[in-house]
Amino acid sequence: MTKSIVLQMEGIRKVFGTVVALDDVNLQLNSKEIHGLLGGNGAGKTTLMNVLFGLYKPNAGKVELHGEKVEIRSPKDAINNEIGMVHQHFLQVDSYTVTENIVLGTELKSWPTLKLEVEADQIRALSEKFGLAVDPDTIMSDLPIGVRQKVEILKALYRGVEVLILDEPTTNLTPQEVDDLFESLRVMVDEGLSIVFITHKLREVMSVCDKITVLRDGQNVLTEDRENVTEKSLVKAMVGEGLNVEESVVFSSVVSGAETRWGASEFGEPVVKVEGLHAQNEDSIVVIKDCTFEVRQKEILGVAGVAGNGQQALAECLMGVCPIHQGSVIVDGMNVSETETRDLLEGGVAYIPQDRLLDGFLPTASVAHNLILGYQRNQAYSNKGFLDWKIIFQSARQQIDEYTIMTPSAGDVAANLSGGNIQRVMLARAFAHPSSFLIAHNPTRGLDIRSIDFVYKKLFERKEAGAATLLISEDLDELFRMCDRIATIYSGEIVGILEKGEFDKYEIGRMMSGVKAND
């Protein structure tokens, strides 16, 4: 049986300034199909869908729905054409109920009153039908991220969609929630919807999609039925010929499961000892509760958890930025509560912050300025308080080369850097200075696969050289690939620590939602 074509995008081209984001891209979506749109960062996945949703106007190309050409100039046009999109960062009013959030912007039957019983019932019916368990009367801010995601999908369903676009929907979900989401997607497809599923995660594509399109550098690379592809062929399509796949960390872990040949080694002495750590934020809210763990030489300790469960506070406690209320943190012989952050950095602690714009970046200063932030009193760069700009620029140029930071010169103002390049500055700064302990918080966010591989190799190099690493990440695949042990954090507490070999994504998923290991 041949399926009917719902949506056809042809020859789509989109140029931003001098950058060609999409170059003659085609996409064909059949009815009742889950179509995976796969590609690394910057491949053009989201741009393509933003064109379809009317957020960007393409420079060339056409969009057809059921064989008829349509002009989509705004999200309103898209919704009128029954196209819905769930964005990676959702826009919700925290103080509204679920129902109020969903009906916002639609015509109300009870207008001008706010009696939303009819709508609430409708939403209840939808959520039952598609297995998206949400209580319509709850206040938004009381809901965990996984449920908020469902609300966002319900928002699209409530408006009546035929084509649903999901942009990286699994980013903040536990493995259990991912499974539930996939089941709901199946139900939706059975009900007649067609779904475009944007992701960079191979495993998800393989487990839920019927058809897969791979984009690379704004171009179509491959479109195939799932039966005809393997994870291996997809990786090759995603990264192209430039990457030596045999040497790639990302690739080898895809082929051989979680284990990599870089993995096992003998651990040395503990570098970091955290005991009974308690911390509060500026509003006196407890952010870290009774954390105890060690990180040894040659060890990468992972921290798993849904974003916002105290990961940043933990990193900042270890960096001496967030004050320690109780307990002790010893890093490489230094008592953190009595040591200035500056001295920690000088003493061999490196940090890659997760929010690079807020926590690690000087937009109005030069790239060279940015590369020495925190090391401005290091003897390599300064002599009796005077900066040696010749050496600073020399090492900046070296790092720009090694980390492929795209900038006209080391003296250029850093605000001109793109997100991925800012991340490379963060990496260069952390890796270029010798350190016995590195705190890396989502170090690969916003990077293409080749750069991710580069980061992984750097981390393994450090490991082999005997350094300790704390890798905080929301990407479980990353943690499985890199870590010797994984601690799971839930609302500021370490719920459990698993050794390599015991890694189990459902076990960690349970802990991510607060269930203790031995419960």
């Binding site: 952050t341 912050p353 807020l358 690690g360 937009p363 200063a365 300025h369 932030l373 925190g374 401005q376």
Partner: protein, 347 residues
């Protein structure tokens, strides 16, 4: 060979990219204000010639310009140094006045000391008093998080009362018709570099300070921390810079610079404290700092340009009866067009 050619070429291009918007802004502001002068019925070319060339026609004009340049540049730096750390010091005139009071007090109390001792004390007193006047808002910011814009402005008004008290009560000069103190000791006066027309050695101090500020902000680790704090206080804190201390320090340095300008006015020019010595240096300093876009190394050049306009404006008023306020319009327009050129470049 070619390599150096390319690099000098690109350097020249980079400089042109910075200077060109300024030149265009100046040109545009002259065109716009020329229209006003024409409407008011004056001779436009003659007016502009007076504004631009008075400073360079006679030695006296040039020295007058330098004398104006000293307080303008110091006031501008008193604004831009804290600005580098992201803080706004709008208290430059108060700090100038209090610095002047400090210098005068030392100059009168220790009037008999010889020059090598008294002069450094007078200058130092100006710096310390100015710094202290800024330290009050700085401390309020450090301790209680009170907005420094409000407090530095309000400290100006307190200083008006203070100078009035000093000039009419403590060291009043009964012979003067205007609130003025008795003169400071001869040892507290800045030596003259040229006696006629008179140019005092304050200009050397001012240039040393400008170079010092440049070295501090661009060449030292401590200056790096100041710049980093201004660029992103949160990131600076995460990377171990004590940002609250930088806020405090930057405001005190700004106060010290403004206080120095007060001390130089007293020790170099008036040799006594006269109420009103702050002139309108604060506002001009802000304009200079903003035209320089907060760049400490550009401030001296912009300050000199504004000093030229100021001297030209008073000459224009004397010889052509064009109101001196005309030059405020030119200055404001330069600022406006410089800021506008930024907006255009961003598009």
């Amino acid at each position: 060979m070619t390599d150096t050619n390319i690099s000098t070429n690109s350097k020249a291009k980079a400089i042109a990219a910075i200077v060109l918007p300024y030149l265009l802004a100046i040109l545009a502001s002259f065109v716009a204000s020329g229209i006003f002068i024409a409407i008011m019925g004056f001779n436009v070319p003659k007016a502009f010639a007076t504004i631009l060339f008075t400073s360079f026609r006679t030695p006296n004009g040039f020295i007058q310009t330098l004398l104006k340049f000293i307080p303008l540049m110091l006031q501008a730096l008193a604004f831009t140094v804290p600005l580098a750390a992201g803080k706004f010091n709008i208290g430059g005139e108060g700090q100038l006045i209090v610095g002047g009071i400090g210098a005068t007090a030392v100059g009168i109390i220790f009037a008999d000391l010889p020059l090598p001792i008294l002069l450094p004390l007078v200058i130092l007193a100006g710096v310390i008093f100015g710094g202290f006047w800024a330290a009050i808002p700085a401390w309020l910011l450090y301790r209680f998080g009170i907005n420094e814009i409000l407090t530095t402005v309000m400290m100006n008004f307190v200083s008006f009362g203070l100078i009035d008290y000093v000039a009419t009560q403590i060291w009043r000069d009964p012979a003067a018709g205007h609130p003025t103190t008795i003169p400071i000791g001869a040892g507290g006066e800045l030596p003259m570099l040229i006696s006629s027309p008179p140019l005092h050695s304050g200009i050397i101090l001012a240039i040393i300070v400008a170079v010092g500020v440049y070295i501090y902000t661009n060449r030292t680790s401590a200056g790096y921390e100041l710049i980093a704090t201004g660029a992103n206080p949160r990131a600076s804190k995460v990377y171990g810079i004590n940002t609250r201390k930088m806020f405090l320090l930057s405001l005190i340095i700004g106060g010290g610079l403004a206080g120095l300008s007060g001390a130089i006015e007293v020790a170099g020019y008036q040799h006594r404290l006269i109420e009103g010595l702050q002139s309108n240096f604060l506002l001009l300093g802000l304009i200079i700092g903003l035209i320089a876009k907060g760049d400490n190394s550009a401030v001296p050049f912009v300050a000199f340009f504004i000093a030229v306009l100021e001297i030209g404006a008073s000459a224009m008023q004397r010889t052509m009866m064009i109101p001196v306020e005309m030059v405020f319009i030119v200055e404001a327009l330069v600022l406006l067009f410089v800021l506008l050129s930024d907006v255009i470049r961003r598009r």
